[in-house]
């Protein structure tokens, strides 16, 4: 295992564990997995999960079974920008399906796929609590709402120019 957190991420992880009572610091697992995903290219390899287990002092299996349960944790490599379009009922009746088709065509990939340059992954996700501003998508920490094709174009241009991993834990 040759992965390691940055100094900052390690300090933060240690502080997070102190938020829970004596002996209950396993509670910090999900918060620390979020940090790991941001530190390690947007996904959780088995090395990454083993490393998290070693920080918290739990068995690797306890990390695997949790990481694989939650939809925000990627168990496979993803692009720098995951475009997560909500396709649940209220969004579906207000343009989510055409937004997905538009993005599929524009990026020349299908749902679940990543562009050849490793920049974008396109996903359909369930209700993000933005039902009144459909269609919408999440990328990293940001919500992009009331989208049109033009706004989607702008967003893709901007993200391409930024050319960095968009993480859920970015400070907004």
């Amino acid at each position: 295992m040759n992965l390691a957190f940055s100094e900052e991420a390690l300090t933060l992880s240690k502080a997070l564990m102190k938020r829970y009572p004596e002996g209950k610091h396993k509670s910090a697992l999900i918060p620390i997995l979020h940090i790991a995903q941001a530190e390690f290219n947007g996904w959780l390899s088995s090395d990454a999960m083993d490393y998290v287990a070693s920080i918290i002092g739990i068995k690797p299996i306890e990390v695997y079974e949790v990481a694989s349960f939650y939809s925000m944790f990627n168990m496979q490599p993803v692009g720098k920008c995951s475009l997560e379009v909500c396709h649940t009922g209220p969004c579906a009746i207000n343009g989510a399906e055409s937004l997905i088709s538009y993005l599929e065509n524009k990026l020349n990939i299908k749902l679940g796929q990543t562009t050849a340059d490793g920049m974008f992954t396109l996903k359909a996700v369930e209700c993000l609590g933005s039902c009144g501003s459909a269609p919408m998508l999440q990328c990293g920490v940001n919500y992009y709402e009331n989208l049109t094709n033009e706004k989607a174009d702008e967003l893709i241009n901007r993200l391409t120019a930024e050319n960095r991993l968009q993480s859920y834990t970015d400070i907004k």
Binding site: P21, P90, E126, C127, G129, A134, Y168, I171
Partner: protein
């Protein structure tokens, strides 16, 4: 009927900061409770208020609090449910983003009432930017002596933390939430024991929704009796409604319970009517889990009484002709909406979100999704309709947690009220791929 309590100061610039919030009267409930009331007094006021939990089930909050076990020497916890993932619901996000101190004030006053010295806000992981907003507000509250040791010199200590989830609707179910908060998979627990006896770390725990906790501050400030005068009958107080779908003004509205549904849909103060001058076809009134109602039954009860936005009025008629207030996720469908497609969409959602622990839910949700998919795409058989009803009945009431029921009701109610549309979809398999069914003749005459 337009009284604002939770959102009274929503338009005040800077209301997200401690200073402005305090200037507008914020944190008064903490002062009042810690300096002049015993924890039992606070619980008593909440009981008198009659307020019912705003997370979906509508259980009276004061009563829930009074069930909390108090064994000596064992810590007690208050956990705020900010998982908000019920499709159609986005009110907690709004409240936390715009007035974070409203929730924090409620957490302090409620934690004092329950005797909790450590409390957590469990927020869905997708809301990470709100987690930052809350953490900033919590830091301000610590800096001003409202959190930490010996709050306001009262001898009461409280630490408050925000904890992110990571994408799982089921973690909104309170025992799944507690499992998740303990760093495990979000599998709901078998009850009993209920969290009031053995919750977080097997200690007595209360789990309440964001909106419920935010309402504690005004209840303590005005007194439970005053709060109980707002609203109608046993539906006391105000409720945040998340309005979405085919309406002119989607968004969050604070309504006094008892507002007529028709006024809510058509008044410019609220939804502003149906988009593009279309006709109303159906409404899901309380989040995706509650029964869908056709236009005629959402505007009037089966007894031809005006339908009101209240727990009792929306459930009038039971599952035959009524629905539920639920989380207040109000989704409006216009005449062009396809009920079959929407039902399939929701079935897919529940299948995706089932934790997989109980076979009726795990298998049944997948089966319903598959059958609805084939009807929607023109490969259905007429017998599929009764099959769906059968499967939904096999799930209902036979599972560890209410997600099973939540998956069954939307399907059963869509078929109950829109059977003709399902039949048309199957009989006109080719036509149904190019156009929608429209309104039922029986409904058309009744709606605007």
């Amino acid at each position: 009927m337009s009284r604002k309590i939770l959102l009274e100061h929503i338009d005040v610039p800077g209301i997200n900061t401690f200073d402005t919030y305090r200037k507008m009267g914020g944190y008064r409930s903490v002062e009042k409770a810690l300096k002049t009331m015993s924890p039992e007094d606070v619980v008593e006021e909440v009981k008198k208020s009659g307020m019912r939990g705003r997370g979906g089930a509508g259980f009276p909050t004061g009563m829930k609090w009074s069930f909390l076990a108090k064994p000596v020497g064992v810590p007690r916890y208050l956990v705020c449910n900010a998982d908000e993932s019920e499709p159609g619901t986005f009110k907690d996000r709004y409240l936390m983003e715009k007035i974070p101190h409203g929730l924090i004030e409620g957490m302090i006053t409620s934690s004092y009432a329950l005797g909790a010295n450590t409390s957590y806000i469990y927020i869905r992981g997708e809301y990470f930017y709100i987690l930052r907003i809350l953490e900033k507000a919590i830091a301000e509250a610590y800096a001003n002596g409202f959190l930490g040791k010996n709050i306001l010199g009262s001898g009461y200590d409280l630490d408050l933390y925000v904890h992110p989830g990571a994408g799982a609707y089921i973690c909104g179910e309170e025992t799944a939430l507690l499992e998740s908060l303990e760093g495990k998979r979000g599998n709901p627990r078998v009850k009993p024991p209920f969290p009031a006896i053995a919750g977080l770390y097997a200690c007595p725990t209360v789990v309440n929704n964001v909106e419920t906790i935010a309402a504690i501050a005004p209840i303590v400030n005005m007194g439970g009796d005053e709060y109980a005068k707002i609203g109608i009958g046993r539906s006391t107080g105000t409720k945040l409604i998340s309005a979405s779908g085919h309406i002119n003004n989607p968004g969050i509205y604070e309504i006094e319970l008892g507002l007529p549904v028709e006024e809510f849909i058509y008044s410019d103060k609220y939804c502003g009517g149906i988009k593009n001058n279309k006709k109303l076809k159906a409404v899901v009134a309380g989040g995706s889990s509650v029964p869908i109602l056709p236009a005629n039954l959402i505007l009037k009860t089966a007894n031809n009484e005006e339908r009101l936005m209240s727990y009792e009025s929306l459930s009038d008629g039971g599952f035959v002709s009524g629905t539920m207030l639920g989380s207040g996720g109000f989704v409006v469908y216009d005449e062009d909406s396809c009920i079959v497609r929407n039902t399939w969409n929701f079935a897919r959602f529940y299948h995706h979100e089932s934790c997989g622990q109980c076979s009726p839910c795990r298998e049944g949700t997948g089966w319903m999704e598959k059958v609805l998919h084939r009807i929607e795409y023109g490969h259905g058989k007429l017998s599929d309709i009764d099959l769906l009803v059968e499967v939904s009945k096999k799930i209902e009431g036979n599972t560890i947690c209410p997600l099973g029921d939540a998956a069954a009701w939307p399907v059963a109610s869509a078929i109950r009220h829109f059977r003709e549309e399902f039949e048309w979809h199957i009989k006109e398999a080719t036509l149904s791929q190019s156009r929608n069914f429209g309104l039922l003749a029986a409904h058309e005459a009744l709606v605007k």
